[in-house]
Structures are given as structure tokens and as C-alpha cells.
Amino acid sequence: MTTCPDANVLAELADDALDEPSRAAVESHLDDCAACTELVATFAWIVAPPPRSPPGYELLAPLGARSWQVGDGIAVTYGARCAPGLVAVRHPNLAAVLAVGEIDGQPYVVHEYFARTEREWRDVEPRSLDEIALVWRGVLAGLAALHRGGLAHGQISPDRVFVDGDRVVLGAPVTELAATSGYLAPERLDGASASALADQFGVCAAAWEALAGHAAYSGTTIGALLVATASPPELPERADRRLAVLARGLAATPRDRYRDVDALATALARPRRPLVAIALVLAVIAATALVIALR
């Protein structure tokens, strides 16, 4: 291995003062030198110190560009904001927001995080429609808790739903994340802000994808999606009953959707009861016959 670059060479590297061959030689040395890797990391820390950790937490490992792990399943995301009321909303099906604040002028959110999305959970092995529906009823329970707290989520997508062991969790709505347009209600594509009814649309679009096996809407531009979401997705032949329920939640006009996600959850859970319907028809016929007979 080549000799380690000294402080003069690393300073030149940082100032882009090295000629190309020298730069290539230094960078290639850095590839395989543990000591220099540590030196460069410390140098970077001194040049541009990372944000301080939130009070009571310690940055353990990076999870992405702006997130650090601060505990078991707990992360801090810098540059992120969320509704202050979110800290008070606790539900097993909703990723908990443990703290929000600001450090050195930068907002942060401390939140639970999960590794496996619902999509990945389905990819690992085939899941039955009942299993998938059960997961999404969990999501609806978490979302309902959020709505009861007077908050809207605004960013529901399959990538924000996690299945971690036995736990189904809806990711916390943290504003640093962009909403995914394929799951946005038409009124939001049109510029409206997040709402419970728009969340209902989002969760139905995501659940549709899980149950039907393909996205409810496709389209790469807002215009195309506005056209696509103007009517609910077409039900496949011999579609699962639950897709029809989701289709109502995907109504283009918010007031045509279910009153709230609890009503949606009830509709999803209602088992098929053909006998009840037949009994009802028979009762009507019998009653009519009785009326005629008594006349």
C-alpha cells in the first residue's frame, strides 16, 4: 500500500489544489486505508460539524442523509417538522413521535422507525388476501387515531406502511418527506392541503395496490394523475369484495367517500352475508303475500 498522505496533501485535496494524477493516487489510497478513513471522517467533522443530538439522545449511526439512529428502533430526522400535537397521539398502529424541537436553528423530529415496508413484507412470501386486509385494517386503526387527534397524515403510500414482526405501523407524518403523487387525492393534486378525507383516498389507493396486485392509478405527471383519479379504478373481473369498498374511498369527490376511516374499516371488515340477503328477500315476499292474503 502507498504511504498515507500527510496533512499538506489532505489540505490540498480539500482545497482542490491537487493535479488529477495526484488526486487519483490519494483517493485510491483512501479506499483501502482504515487510518486515513478515520482521519478524513474526523477532518470532515471538524470542517462541518454535524448537528448536535436532541436532549436525552445520542447519535448512534447514520440512517440516511439527515437521519441518525438514536436508540433501538428510534431515529432523529433533522430538517423535519411535524404537527406539534403528534407527540400526544399514541397508537400501536402509528409510529410514535417522541420529541420535536429545534437545535442550532434546525428543526428535528425524534420518531420510531421500522425497517420493513408492507411492500417488502408481501415480497418475501405470498400473502393471502385476508392477511393483507388484516394489515390494512391495522393501518386504518392507526390513521383513525391520528384523525381523532385532529390531525391529517398527508403522505400515505405503501412505503410509509411497515410490518415489523407482528406490528403493523403507519409511518409518522414528518414534513421532510415528500408525498408520493400516485396516492394523492385529486383535490390534493389540485392544491388542497392534507385532510382526513384525502387520507382516506391515499390509504385506499395504497391498500388497492396491495390487494389487487397493481397500482390503482398510473401516471407520471400531475395532469395525467388528475385525469386518472377523476374516476375510481376499474374493478377487475371477479374482484374481491373489498376492492369495491376501497373504490368508494377512491371517489373523486371527497363527500362521496366514507364518512371517516372508521366507517371504511367497518365496511372492509363486514363479512359477506348472502343468507341474510336471501332471508330479507324472503321476508319481504312473505310479508307481501301476507298483506295480499289478509286483504
Binding site: 500527510d6 496533512a7 499538506n8 496533501v9 489532505l10 489540505a11 490540498e12 485535496l13 480539500a14 482545497d15 482542490d16 489544489a17 491537487l18 487519483a24 483517493e27 485510491s28 483512501l30 479506499d31 483501502d32 486505508c33 482504515a34 478513513t37 478515520e38 482521519l39 478524513v40 471522517a41 474526523t42 477532518f43 470532515a44 467533522w45 471538524i46 470542517v47 462541518a48 460539524p49 454535524p50 448536535r52 447519535l59 449511526a61 447514520p62 440516511g64 442523509a65 439527515r66 441518525w68 425497517a115 420493513r116 415496508t117 417488502e120 415480497d123 418475501v124
Partner: protein, 301 residues
Amino acid sequence: MHAPSRPTPLAYDRDVTDELVAAFTAVWSGTAPPELGAILHELCTRVRAAHPGLLADRELVAAIAAHAPPHDVVAFCARCRAPELALATAASRGDASAIAELEAVCAEIVEAAHRRFASLGHTADDLHQILRAKLFVGEPAIARYNGQGSLGAWLRVTAAHLFIDLARRKDRAREVVADPHELDPLGATDVALEAIKAEYRAAVANALVQAARDLPPGDRHVLRQHLVGGLTIDQLAAVLGIHRATAARRIARAREALVARARTLVASKLALDDDELADLFGLVASKLDFSIARLLATPPA
């Protein structure tokens, strides 16, 4: 001593430039090119403007000569950050005003560094004392600055080196043994690999390791610093002297190249059709950062 092969600009006094070249060659062994006198004169003028009365011309020239390579001396002098080298040279000779100016930079450095080295049990004041002693006392380290990169970057690298050494000595005293599980690329906590069927797991892990080795020079370092060290794009751009967009592109490209290469390697090892391969790498790619971080965590010794 050397007759210039082309006319010296009128602004330069021939006696003065000859004197500077003489001071240079007293320290540096080589044949002075004809333009050297004019270049040295220009550097001295810049230093006098930036720091009036800080350092005599002859002393500055001697300091440049002390660091100059035997060849390409003109390019070396042309790149010289003379005012910063003058400050460092004066500080190395105990000049109080130069030391005071550099101590202000040291204070900034310590302010940034002391959180990282909090485990050392040193206060910021302690670290400042240690850094000051290293730079200005005894055989002052500041004399090693060669004026080619910025003095600010040099001071920060030197401080980083010093604090790492301190931490290492403390670690050795404690005889800290690394947790071997942490170094296991197939460890149980790897989310991406965990999602893969056991029979493919080793092949994928090995392919990722091999693919990392095949990355273009420097990319493994960049990816490791980003994913393992948690360096942000901005930090990487700062220490590598590249634009932040370049840093971001480089990370993205390295990550893609790594997956593509690993995929090719796995395809050549396992009999999988395209769909299966796509599934396998879809799983890996979505959580790849965790895997790469683990695989890159320990650079080969």
C-alpha cells in the same frame, strides 16, 4: 546570479530579485529557472500587503524553498499561498501576533471537535492546550505547513490527527476489544440480507464485497464515509474538494455500480432467471445502504 533569458519586467528591481533567488537557492538545491525571481518578488509583495512587517522577504523565500520539490519549482511557487505560509512561518518562530491569529482558528476547531472526542474526558480547554502545544511549542508542527493547500484545512487535518492519536492511546490503555459480531457482514441484524432466502444470502453478500472491490478508485472510500461514517454530502464535498453536486452524483453512481456489478456476479454464480434476480435485487436494493454500510465498515487492513 542567473541572467534571465527574457527581459525582466521593469517594475522589478534586478538586484532585489537576484537577492531573493539567492536566498531561495541557499536552502533549495536545484537550478533556478529564469522566471523564479519575478515570482518570488510577487509573493513577497502579496505578503507585505496582507501582513505588513510580519516576515522579512528573505525569511519567506527561505520558508518556500524549504518545502519546494526538486522539480517543477515554478508551479510550486505559483500555487504557494504566501500570506498563509508567512503566518505559519512567523508563528513557528514564536511571533505573538501570528500565534494569536492562529489560536482563533484553533478555538473554532476545538469547538467543533470536542463533541466528537467527548469520550476522551478532556474539556475543550484541555484540547485547546494540547493542540497549541503541538503546533507552537518545542519542535512546532506549524513549521511543516507547506503553503500549497489552505492553512485552515491543514490546521484541521493536523488537529484531527492529534485528537485521533489521543483517543487511540486512551483506547489502548483501556484495552478495548471490538465486538467481533459488529464485523460480521452476514450478521443477524442485516435487514436486506435477512429478507433473502438463506441459500442466496452468502452469494449476495460475497458478490457485494467483490463488487465493492471493483468500484473505480476513490468510490469505495466515498461510499464508506457516507454510509458508514455518516458524512453528509456537504462534508464529503468539503474534505474532497469537490462540488456538492459532484459528491452527490458520485455517491449515487457508486451505489448503482455496486448493485449492478453484484447482480452480474450473482447471476454468474446462481442459476436464477431474470425475474428471480430482479426480485432478489429489488429486496437488496431497497435496504442496500444497511448492507453496504456493514460490508464496507471495515476497510481491508
